[in-house]
C-alpha cells in the first residue's frame, strides 16, 4: 500500500519547507528589524573612487586620454590641466604625505591659466558652429547660446559623463560643478586647435538638441522686434490675429494667435491661456521662424560637422540693435523682479463670478443631487420623488 502511494507522487518538493521565500516566525521580524535599522542609518557616505584598492592614477590618465580622443597629450599636461588651485591646500598635500590622493606627483602647477585659455578656445569654436547653422540669427542669440552651453552646469554634466570627476585633483570632495567645469575648460586649453574643434563638436554641440531658444534668449518685447525685422524685409503691415479660441469664460481658456504680415502671410503662430501670452508666444515663434530655427532644422553632428570649414564663420552676425529702430526695446526679460504666476487662479474665479454666476447663478448640483450623486451625508430619502412623472424626470 505504501509503495502504491509513493509511486503517485509527482514531485519531491511537495513539502512546505522548500518554499524559498518563507521564513520562520522569528526570522521575519529579525529581517524587518535589520531593514529598518538600515533605513534609520541613512545612506552610506560617498567614497572617492581613488580610495579603492584598484586605483592607478597613471593608468586612468592613459585611458582618459584615449577616451576623449587625444592620446598624444603628455601625462604632465593632463596632470596640470586636472589640478585645481585648491589642491595644494589639502591636509595630506601640506603634510607631504606620500601618494596624496587622487595620485601622481604633487608638483607646483595648477590649471588657472589653462582655464582662461580653454574657455576662450571653446567659445571661439562654438560660436563658429552656431554662426554656420544660425546664419540668419542675430549675434545676441549666438552669445546667449554660447553662454548657456559653456555654463558651469552644462560643462559639469559633460565632465561627469567623461569621467573627469574622478581625475580632478582638488581639495573638496565631492567635487563641485565649478571645479569639474574648470577641469573641462583646462583640457580645452591644453588641446590643439583641431582637438578643441573636435571637443566642441563631439561633446558640447549635442547639447543643442535639448535647448529651447525662446528661453535662452527671452526678449522683453518680441512683437516690436519682429515688427522691425519684417519691416526691414519689406513688409508694410504686421498684426496679430486670433485664429481660434475656446472656453473664453471658463476655467481653462485657450487662444491660438498668429502674426500676419500684410494681412496675407502667417509668419508665426502659438497658443496661450490668455491673449497677451498667446501674442507674446506667437511673436517669439515668428522670430525663431524668421531666423530659420524650426523643429525641422537638422543640426550637423560628428563627421558631418567636422567636415564643415568652420573657420569661415569667424565674423559676427548682425546685431539686433542695428536692425531695429532706436525706440524698440531689444533687451532681455529682467529676471530680477518677481513675475507673477501665469496660471492666475484669482482671475479665473473672478471671471466665473462676474460672467457666469451673474448670468445663470449657482448650479443646481445640490438640489439635483439625486441626479448627480448619492454621496450625501444627510442620506435623505428621495421617496418624495418616487412616482416618475414628466415633471419629475425632467
Amino acid at each position: 500500500m505504501f509503495r502504491h502511494v509513493a509511486q503517485n507522487l509527482g514531485s519531491r518538493n511537495t513539502s512546505i519547507q522548500s518554499y524559498r521565500l518563507l521564513r520562520t516566525r522569528w526570522e521575519r521580524g529579525y529581517l524587518k528589524d535589520l531593514y529598518h535599522r538600515r533605513q534609520i542609518l541613512g545612506a552610506d557616505p560617498a567614497i572617492s573612487r581613488s580610495s579603492y584598492p584598484n586605483w592607478d592614477y597613471d593608468s586612468e590618465l592613459y585611458a582618459f586620454g584615449h577616451r576623449i580622443g587625444a592620446p598624444e597629450i603628455s601625462e604632465d599636461q593632463y596632470i596640470k590641466a586636472l589640478t585645481n588651485e585648491s589642491f595644494f591646500q589639502r591636509a595630506d598635500v601640506e603634510e607631504n604625505v606620500e601618494s596624496a590622493q587622487p595620485g601622481a606627483e604633487v608638483g607646483t602647477e595648477h590649471n588657472a591659466e589653462l582655464v582662461k585659455r580653454g574657455e576662450q578656445n571653446l567659445s571661439i569654436w562654438l560660436k563658429r558652429y552656431l554662426r554656420f547653422h544660425l546664419a540668419k540669427a542675430p549675434e545676441e542669440l549666438i552669445e546667449a547660446i554660447d553662454s548657456h552651453l559653456l555654463d558651469d552646469e552644462c560643462l559639469a554634466g559633460i565632465a561627469s559623463h567623461l569621467g573627469i570627476d574622478h581625475l580632478v585633483r582638488t581639495k573638496e570632495f565631492p567635487i563641485s560643478q565649478e571645479s569639474s567645469a574648470d577641469a573641462f575648460r583646462a583640457l580645452a586649453g591644453v588641446f590643439s586647435d583641431e582637438k578643441v574643434k573636435n571637443l566642441v563638436i563631439d561633446f558640447i554641440v549635442p547639447q543643442l538638441v535639448d535647448i529651447d531658444f525662446a528661453d535662452i534668449y527671452p526678449l522683453a518685447d518680441p512683437l516690436a522686434v519682429v515688427t522691425d525685422l519684417l519691416k526691414s524685409n519689406g513688409v508694410t503691415e504686421i498684426e496679430p490675429r486670433v485664429l481660434r479660441s475656446a472656453g473664453e469664460n471658463s476655467a481653462e481658456p485657450i487662444y491660438v494667435v498668429a502674426i500676419y504680415a500684410d494681412k496675407l502671410k502667417n509668419v508665426g503662430q502659438s497658443a496661450g491661456e490668455s491673449l497677451a501670452i498667446a501674442v507674446d508666444m506667437a511673436a517669439r515663434e515668428a522670430l525663431l521662424r524668421l531666423w530659420d530655427i524650426t523643429s525641422e532644422k537638422v543640426l550637423f553632428f560628428g563627421d558631418r560637422a567636422a567636415n564643415v570649414p568652420l573657420e569661415r564663420y569667424s565674423q559676427p552676425n548682425f546685431s539686433l540693435s542695428q536692425k531695429c529702430s532706436p525706440g524698440t526695446n531689444t533687451n532681455i526679460i529682467d529676471h530680477s523682479q518677481p513675475v507673477e504666476s501665469p496660471d492666475n487662479l484669482i482671475e479665473a474665479v473672478l471671471r466665473y463670478r462676474n460672467v457666469v454666476d451673474a448670468e445663470v447663478g449657482k448650479s443646481y448640483t445640490k438640489r439635483l443631487r439625486h441626479k448627480f450623486s448619492r454621496g450625501s451625508l444627510a442620506k435623505r430619502s428621495f421617496r418624495y420623488l418616487v412616482k416618475p412623472k414628466p415633471y419629475t424626470v425632467a
Partner: protein
C-alpha cells in the same frame, strides 16, 4: 545628463493647448436622438482625443441647440417608452417620449446622451459638460466659449410646410385631381364633433 531642463515657455503653452477643453456646438434640428446622443457622448467623454484614457478626464464641452426640433425615427415619438423604476411602491412608470418632450424640450436630448455615456461612475461628471438649449438662443458667455462646430449626424431636409406656393406650382404634375378631391395634408378636416346617440323614443329636436 546630470541636470534636467526646466519646462520651457513653448512646452508650457503646448501642454496647455493639448489638455485644454474645446467647446463644441451642434445643431439638433432634425437629428435622430440616438445618433446624436452617441456622437455627443463621445465628445463629452473625450474618446475622440489621442490622449484619452478611461481614467483621464479629458472630455470637451458640447452645446446642443434647437433641442425642441430633435427628431426620432418614424413613429418613435409614440413608441419609445422611457422606463423609470425607483424600486419603491408606486415608483415604476413608463412614459412615452412625446410626453416628456411636451414638458421639457431639452430632456430627450439629455436622456439620449446620458444613455450613450454608458453605465459607469464617470458619466455624472461627463454630463455636467453638456449644455442644452431649446432653440438657437443661448447665454452670451456660452456663445463666447464655443470654439468648434460638430458635423450633424444626418442631413437636414426641407419640410413640406416650408415650400412656397410658387415652388409648388412649378413642380411638374403627372396627375390632375378631380375638383372634389380632398388634399388632406394642406389642412385638416374640421372635427365633426362627438357622436351623440339619439335617445330611444325621441325624435330629432
Amino acid at each position: 545628463m546630470s541636470y534636467r531642463r526646466a519646462v520651457s515657455r513653448f512646452d508650457r503653452v503646448n501642454q496647455w493647448l493639448q489638455f485644454s477643453r474645446q467647446w463644441h456646438v451642434i445643431d439638433a434640428n432634425q437629428q435622430d436622438a440616438e445618433l446624436l446622443g452617441d456622437k455627443v457622448a463621445r465628445y463629452l467623454a473625450g474618446k475622440h482625443k489621442p490622449i484619452f484614457h478611461p481614467e483621464t478626464d479629458c472630455g470637451d464641452h458640447v452645446v446642443v441647440t434647437n433641442c425642441k426640433d430633435i427628431a426620432m425615427h418614424a413613429f418613435d415619438w409614440k413608441h419609445t417608452i422611457y422606463k423609470f423604476n425607483m424600486e419603491y411602491p408606486k415608483s415604476k412608470a413608463d412614459i412615452p417620449a412625446w410626453q416628456i418632450h411636451d414638458y421639457d424640450q431639452c430632456r430627450i436630448a439629455f436622456l439620449s446622451v446620458y444613455r450613450s455615456l454608458g453605465n459607469n461612475l464617470l458619466r455624472r461628471r461627463h454630463i455636467q459638460r453638456l449644455h442644452l438649449f431649446p432653440d438657437e438662443e443661448m447665454a452670451e458667455f456660452v456663445r463666447k466659449n464655443i470654439g468648434s462646430q460638430l458635423r450633424q449626424v444626418q442631413g437636414v431636409v426641407k419640410r413640406s410646410d416650408e415650400y412656397t406656393a410658387e415652388e409648388r406650382a412649378n413642380f411638374p404634375r403627372v396627375v390632375k385631381f378631380a375638383d372634389k378631391h380632398v388634399v388632406d395634408w394642406e389642412k385638416s378636416i374640421p372635427n365633426p364633433g362627438r357622436h351623440v346617440k339619439p335617445v330611444p323614443g325621441q325624435k330629432d329636436k
